[in-house]
């Protein structure tokens, strides 16, 4: 009897609640995240290539759809790190903020950010993505996600880049040289060209952001030649984390670079190169080959064409190294270092959580990638396509692919945690003009995608607080020691055989323990 009455009562209640809900739905659109207009303060850096407008189609669309007004703060990229650090350190963060993965790992344990894993049920879209790829587990801190990584939604025109071998293919053709397939062949090919064209620099490099030219050279060439320039995961050695410069295979890397140096192939100024000199050598036709970001290097063809229209710097497939390995990384498909966090001091964390999750829906990706349907883009066969008149309006500028994104407020350099770079890609293709150019571009994209030597980068395992502290302490000491030695071996001041002593010393002062820490952490995550 009693149960029956309770049942009836519950039924009445359920009906009543549903009726009220339906009645409310009539007033407020179902997509709204809040009944009253909520302002979310959101901050990211502004890249000078793409200015962030504080009012644009995208922001209006979000307000209409979600009843959420984004108040965007966009400090310049050049100053962003300092600004970010001080805002975190003083607990004065905006509601949502773009930080780096390092920041997440550093401050998550201090409760600076909302633990998103605790709100998993409210974030079905985000967690569907995070759980689709087991390697994302490496992004957690003590098993929880404190941030939403920037994940790519692929579009048909997206392409992948990497630090690939770029070579003057016109010179290869001129001297009837086959495209090299191994690093040794590359050396001989460059030597052959240099024999006929003395004065040309064989292989050049730039300085790494805040590190040295040597470090940048090894960042690009170490792993393909046999061992990474820092901690790296070696699948060919059975799947293990190694500190590259203190591993056996690093001698093969040094031996090759030494051979290249003594043969006059490697730029004699490799250790002191700057970015400007690198640009100058490549875009004036003074250098034959470089291993670096192929998208950036490709730009030099514009300058090369003014020297001689026949000049061409082009990517060639991954080379086989002296150990018989054919391997290189391309850039990660996602931008995992761009982490979106919600401040734990925010007064509207519930709305922020809903908003961030919405960003990871397909509707969110469409709005954050293309703007407003019917205004800035249309669906063609279910795929968003930027309106032709917009392409024409912005397509004449020197910076068109970023200008159009700036105007709509979309793309990777705006607020787009689930990022579709379609607007930029479509503009780039529009600007290519001729069908041949588009076909050549598609062939390039295809060849990079099909290169079996290119692997996905492996995410570093998450460390505990104690592991992090210990690792950082060891890392700086080992790194400082090793990188003061390396140049001697590349330039031949010391025979490669002596490098065993460097390896032994590096291992004794911490390289061994660093590997241990990484492998333990890696296995701990895989074990779960």
């Amino acid at each position: 009897m009693k149960t029956r009455r309770i049942f009836a009562l519950t039924l009445v209640l359920v009906i009543a609640v549903s009726l009220i809900t339906i009645a409310q739905a009539d007033e407020t659109p179902s997509t709204w995240l809040s009944d009253t207009l909520v302002e979310i303060h959101i901050m990211r850096d502004e890249n000078p290539s793409q200015l962030i407008q504080l009012d644009n189609v995208k922001l209006q669309t979000i307000e209409e759809l979600l009843n959420v007004r984004l108040v965007v703060e966009a400090p310049p990229k050049a100053s962003y790190d300092d600004k970010k650090q001080i805002l975190i350190a003083t607990d004065d963060m905006p509601d949502i903020m773009l930080v780096s993965l390092d920041d997440v790992k550093r401050y998550a344990r201090d409760d600076m950010f909302v633990n998103l894993s605790e709100h998993k049920d409210e974030m079905p879209n985000l967690f569907a993505h995070l759980e689709s790829d087991p390697s994302f587990a490496m992004l957690t801190v003590d098993g929880s996600y404190y941030h939403a990584p920037t994940i790519q939604r692929l579009n048909p025109d997206a392409r992948r880049s990497g630090q690939l071998v770029n070579i003057r293919t016109d010179l290869l053709a001129k001297y009837n040289l086959a495209v090299p397939t191994t690093f040794d062949e590359l050396l001989t090919a460059i030597q052959t060209i240099q024999a006929s064209e003395p004065g040309l620099i064989g292989m050049t490099n730039r300085k790494g952001g805040s590190t040295t030219g040597t470090r940048k050279l090894l960042d690009c060439m170490g792993y393909p030649l046999g061992a990474g320039s820092d901690m790296y995961y070696d699948e060919d050695l059975g799947g293990v984390w190694l500190y590259g410069p203190a591993s056996e295979n690093f001698k093969a890397v040094l031996a090759y670079l030494n051979k290249a140096y003594e043969a006059g192939v490697l730029d004699p100024d490799y250790a002191t190169m700057t970015k400007d000199l690198w640009v100058e050598k490549l875009s004036s036709g003074q250098a034959i080959c470089t291993m670096d970001n192929d998208g950036v290097v490709r730009n030099f063809n514009t300058a090369l064409a003014t020297v001689d229209p026949g000049y061409m710097l082009d990517v060639i497939p991954t080379l086989t190294n002296t150990l018989g390995q054919t391997r290189n990384f391309h850039y990660n498909e996602d931008w995992l270092d761009q982490a979106w966090v919600i401040s734990s001091s925010s007064k509207i964390t519930d709305v922020c959580i809903k908003f961030l999750d919405w960003c990871f829906s397909d509707q969110g990706a469409d709005v954050n990638g293309y703007g407003k349907e019917g205004v800035t883009f249309d669906y063609v066969n279910g795929v968003p396509v930027i309106k032709r008149e917009l392409l024409e309006e912005y397509g004449s500028g020197a910076n068109a692919s970023y200008d159009i994104q700036s105007a709509i407020g979309v793309g990777l350099l705006d607020i787009a945690p689930y990022c579709d770079t379609g607007a930029q890609n479509q503009m780039e293709i529009y600007m290519m003009g001729s069908d041949e150019a588009i076909a050549a571009f598609r062939a390039l994209v295809q060849s990079i995608a099909a290169d079996p030597g290119l692997r996905d980068p492996v995410l570093t395992p998450p460390l505990s607080a104690e592991q992090t502290e210990r690792y950082n302490e060891l890392h700086i000491a080992v790194q400082d020691y090793v990188y003061q030695e390396i140049d001697k071996y590349i330039t031949g001041q010391e025979p490669i055989a002596n490098y065993d002593a460097v390896i032994a010393h590096a291992r004794s002062i911490g390289a061994e323990e660093m590997e241990q820490i990484y492998n333990d952490a890696w296995n701990a995550v895989l074990g779960e």
């Binding site: 392409r159 970015k275 640009v279 514009t302 930029q424």
Partner: protein, 293 residues
């Protein structure tokens, strides 16, 4: 000036003039190079073909700078520089004068208080919190008050004040002038050359500063020029990005090289304009003796 006509004097003059001419050459050329770089086509700059004359002259680089509300930022910078420098000079003189009086009873403790700050500071975090607590965040006051006195400059001013003979101030004191009058009527006019230099130092520091603005200014409309210029330099086209998927379709009339050069020109220009006015005060020596009477 009386002329010396000895041979050694003449030899010295020839040497001096030649040496200074050489020094001018090596200091002028890089700035000239920046100028021709800023008006050359980016591709030529990339290729490194510019040395004496600009190539494929274009104003695209300056156009690129102007597109981002340059004039608004410039206006802000001028405002911050003028207000900041005035506050700096007034405050520095106010602090320097009492510290320069040998018989001032508070001289020792105040000197200690001031000098201590040369060596020790609380750091960025508490300063940020202090500025925040005063409610001056995102306003001009956050840029001009926390650095109202540069103690280094203030000490230079104090040293200059100290060098003024006591006899001058004593006679004024006997005439019944108080310290405010003495500072204003005697000390400051006699120290014009050094104060002009300090004006230059302070103004240049304000004009070039970006760090405080980066910390304390949140509204884009209040940014000074340097924040925008710096962004163009550091986050440029060929920055170490994993995101660039360029296609070679761009024309590159503007590149990192031309932007950097133009930014340096824009930064230097106002100083070039102001300097001659400051310089006027250096050329003629002050006749301290004539004031004594």
């Amino acid at each position: 000036m009386m002329q010396d006509h000895s041979t050694s004097r003449r030899v010295f003059n020839v040497f001096n003039i030649t040496f200074l001419a050489l020094l001018m050459l090596v200091t002028l050329y890089p700035m000239y190079f920046m100028f021709i770089t800023s008006i050359s086509h980016g591709v030529e700059v990339m290729k490194g073909t510019i040395s004496v004359l600009p190539k494929l002259v274009t104003l695209d680089t300056y156009r690129a700078i102007v597109q981002g509300d340059l004039f608004l930022y410039m206006k802000n910078s001028v405002l911050y520089t003028v207000v900041g420098t005035v506050i700096n000079l007034v405050m520095s003189c106010l602090a320097a004068y009492p510290l320069s009086r040998r018989n001032f009873s508070g001289r020792k403790p105040f000197t200690a208080i001031v000098t201590f700050t040369l060596f020790f500071s609380g750091g960025m975090i508490p300063l940020y919190l202090t500025v925040n607590a005063f409610g001056i965040m995102d306003s001009i006051w956050a840029l001009v008050l926390p650095g109202a006195i540069n103690t280094y400059n203030m000490i230079i001013i104090r040293t200059t004040f100290q060098a003024i003979p006591d006899s001058l101030t004593e006679s004024a004191q006997l005439d019944g002038a108080n310290d405010i009058v003495i500072l204003w009527k005697i000390i400051i006019p006699l120290s014009k050359a050094v104060l002009a230099t300090m004006l230059l130092f302070y103004a240049v520091a304000h004009w070039n500063s970006y760090f405080d603005a980066m910390l304390y200014i949140n509204s884009k409309a209040k940014y000074p020029l340097q924040i925008m210029l710096r962004n163009m330099l550091i986050g440029g086209l060929f920055a170490d990005e994993t995101t660039v998927a360029a296609t070679g379709a761009a024309s590159f009339s503007v590149t990192d090289g031309t932007l950097r050069a133009a930014a340096i020109i824009v930064t230097t220009l106002p100083i070039l304009i102001v300097y001659p006015f400051v310089q006027r005060h250096f050329v003629k020596g002050v006749m301290i003796g004539s004031l004594k009477g």
